[in-house]
Symmetry: C3
Subunit: 340 residues, 3 copies
Amino acid sequence: MKTLAALAELVGGKLVGDGSTEVNGLADLESANAGQLTFLTHEKNIDLLSSSQAAAAVVPISARDYALPVIQVRDPNLAFAIIHNYFLDRPFQGKGIDSRAVIGPDCQIPEAVTISPLVFLGRGVVLGQRVTLEPGVVVGDDVRIGDDTTLKANVTVGAGTIIGCRVMVHAGTVIGSDGFGYATDQLGHHLKRPQIGIVQIDNDVEIGSNVCIDRATFGKTWVKRGAKIDNLVQVAHNVVIGEDSIIVSQVGISGSTTLGTGVVLGGQAGVAGHLTIGDRVMAAAKTGIHANLPAKAVVSGFPAISHPLWLRVSSLLAKLPELVKDVRALKKHVAELDRK
Amino acid sequence: MKTLAALAELVGGKLVGDGSTEVNGLADLESANAGQLTFLTHEKNIDLLSSSQAAAAVVPISARDYALPVIQVRDPNLAFAIIHNYFLDRPFQGKGIDSRAVIGPDCQIPEAVTISPLVFLGRGVVLGQRVTLEPGVVVGDDVRIGDDTTLKANVTVGAGTIIGCRVMVHAGTVIGSDGFGYATDQLGHHLKRPQIGIVQIDNDVEIGSNVCIDRATFGKTWVKRGAKIDNLVQVAHNVVIGEDSIIVSQVGISGSTTLGTGVVLGGQAGVAGHLTIGDRVMAAAKTGIHANLPAKAVVSGFPAISHPLWLRVSSLLAKLPELVKDVRALKKHVAELDRK
Amino acid sequence: MKTLAALAELVGGKLVGDGSTEVNGLADLESANAGQLTFLTHEKNIDLLSSSQAAAAVVPISARDYALPVIQVRDPNLAFAIIHNYFLDRPFQGKGIDSRAVIGPDCQIPEAVTISPLVFLGRGVVLGQRVTLEPGVVVGDDVRIGDDTTLKANVTVGAGTIIGCRVMVHAGTVIGSDGFGYATDQLGHHLKRPQIGIVQIDNDVEIGSNVCIDRATFGKTWVKRGAKIDNLVQVAHNVVIGEDSIIVSQVGISGSTTLGTGVVLGGQAGVAGHLTIGDRVMAAAKTGIHANLPAKAVVSGFPAISHPLWLRVSSLLAKLPELVKDVRALKKHVAELDRK
């Protein structure tokens, strides 16, 4: 139970109404009950508040006229996320090392960890405080994992990988598999180029389910602090993903490409290899990027062009049959004019 | 061994030839042997029947002139599938709970199940009759799984997931991972929005390999009765997939989008978030859907347009260089006319 | 430690400089230290050699003027890969069958293998010499695996699969899951078509992480000798992938399509079902192939057209707004001419 006044202070918001109102949890507008806090993203939906059962709401700073006690904030999404995380925060309850886990020699494991049954750790693995490894996790030799990091079920981490603190890796993801590199001989047979680099995942990264992040050929594949990667994403060898980047589901990033800080790639976008994508570039879903992009470029389409241009082009595409007809008519018309 | 007469009755087909012919299995035209039943989808391929070794065949109702005994039906694919399933039907052979599985406290597990070695069940898991869990399956706390459902190897099911009866989930799939949701602060750092909803999978759903179905932020992500999902598909948080929908491999469906009944999405198609896709909408492979679609819409391309229009547009695209040349020539021509 | 002379002989290259120079490892230009060999792919980058710490280098045959001892070769990538593999070559160190692996009845397993803890083998599995199965691998009944093959962590192989020699399958991949096939009844319900074929993987194939290769409906899905498949690729039932083909990440190949020898499919490309793709066809990233292609076709775009044409078309696309404007102006102009 928290009072609205305390929560307002937590998010630096303005309390309007009874600050002693207590809430015991959070929910969206439709499902919130009488003991819960809810939130409103857009002022225009203010009428929805009156039909909500919620005890109180987080609302935009501009919103007026509400039946409930509210906390006014600049960014209701952010304030709500802060409050929600605050409500869910629990002290770490380590279960230690389950006897049905398999732990290799020379590992360094503090007491405050949860290593579930059916986990496998290779030789020389070093774990930080409060690491959680769910069942089915396989960690290769000499992997280092920082404090408060969680690997969900059936995650595989290849030898030598370095994972920072407060990293969350969702189920089925593979980190540190071999990069896809071959040299082709005169007969057309492909000889594997050994992939002897590593993967480094920095602090506060979150990685979705069934993602693949390949180890570098030499050196490292690198996901920097705060980057968030959705499900089924492909990160090839020697890719660098900049801090706070957002990589949406099913994106593919080819080898040796570097993304700057705060890059956003929409779902199913693809980036060719050996490119440099500037800070804060945004690419819409399904974009195919084949060339370097300067900082803050906003692109769409395949091949990628500026987003506003793509919007015009794509709306004209549907009119292509008409255009062809027009040109044909014009040719005929001009031919007639000629004859006169 | 079944007689052709019995099989004809099973599928409501018309027997032509010796109904006492016995078959002991099924195969396609090329590989069927003298004891097997085969099938012909299209009348035009009727000549292939005479070169088949099969004992008998299921054929379209319109087909004429065949050397073999046949069962004539409206839909040979359907009749063959019915017969094939009938042949393969076996009583459930439960192996019970293997001692090398890890079962959490407070689980409810009937006798007639197969829980393989190396399975992990969390706390409070409730299993129906004849559930099969293959090795490497990890099931989180409080998951409920209905009768006759199978989770193949290395499937991960997150806490609180509800799975119906006769559901088949193929290997490596992850159900109930966190949705991809963040709020971004003034520094550009992304704060995780807790994902506290669940996934609900209804009866008779089949889900391919290495699929990701994320849990809802609040409420539920919902795959309704009879939907079929192919490999490597992404289903984001709060998505609803309607009954009997067909989602082909590598499709991505963004958050909070609702598909109606009987929707068909071709391979690698993508659907943006917060959309409503009507009943029986069909989208071709690689389609990118960015707007709501009414029932029975048939769309292609990116951005999605009507399929017939897309066929015309895409054939004209290859003629774009010619069109540009024509327009240039016209401009020159008209300029000459001007001069006269 | 190897002498440069020995390595030159290994790759059939021309030694320039001191052949008694010894190297103890390999690295790229930036990271090579004084005991290592490095390599240069393009002559134009020859200046980078002088700033490298490397002891020696593999260089293109055309390269001139270098401070280091070098081996001149036609294809530095290939020569370097040969040398690198030579350096990394180690005799197989089998660890035998770990007691925490689960081995079904009637398996045939030679002594020289590594079967890790938490591996599951079904009934009747036959393993070749020097097979390595990492933790979490699940192998179904009657699977056969050839000599020197490695299945990395959490790989799932379905019953009846045949895998050749020197095959490498990376973590999380699923081989032999059911193909995606249904027959639809009058109510729109989808009845599963049993998938009773197998998958056959021939010698020297490498398969990435979280790939899906479905078993055939009847017969076999077949990946032929030397093919290389990247991460997150979908290979549907009854597909045939020709020898030495290269399938880049996130490609999808639909059912019953046959690829010839040496086909290259770029990332996120898709191929429709029941097609025949000729030998040495190359498709760029994101290509959508909807029709058969003759040998050596080079295609791009969606729908796929010849690559040079696609380059022209895609550059003209961005000029479509201008073209539409031109046509409008022309129409107006011609109408004026009419009036005169």
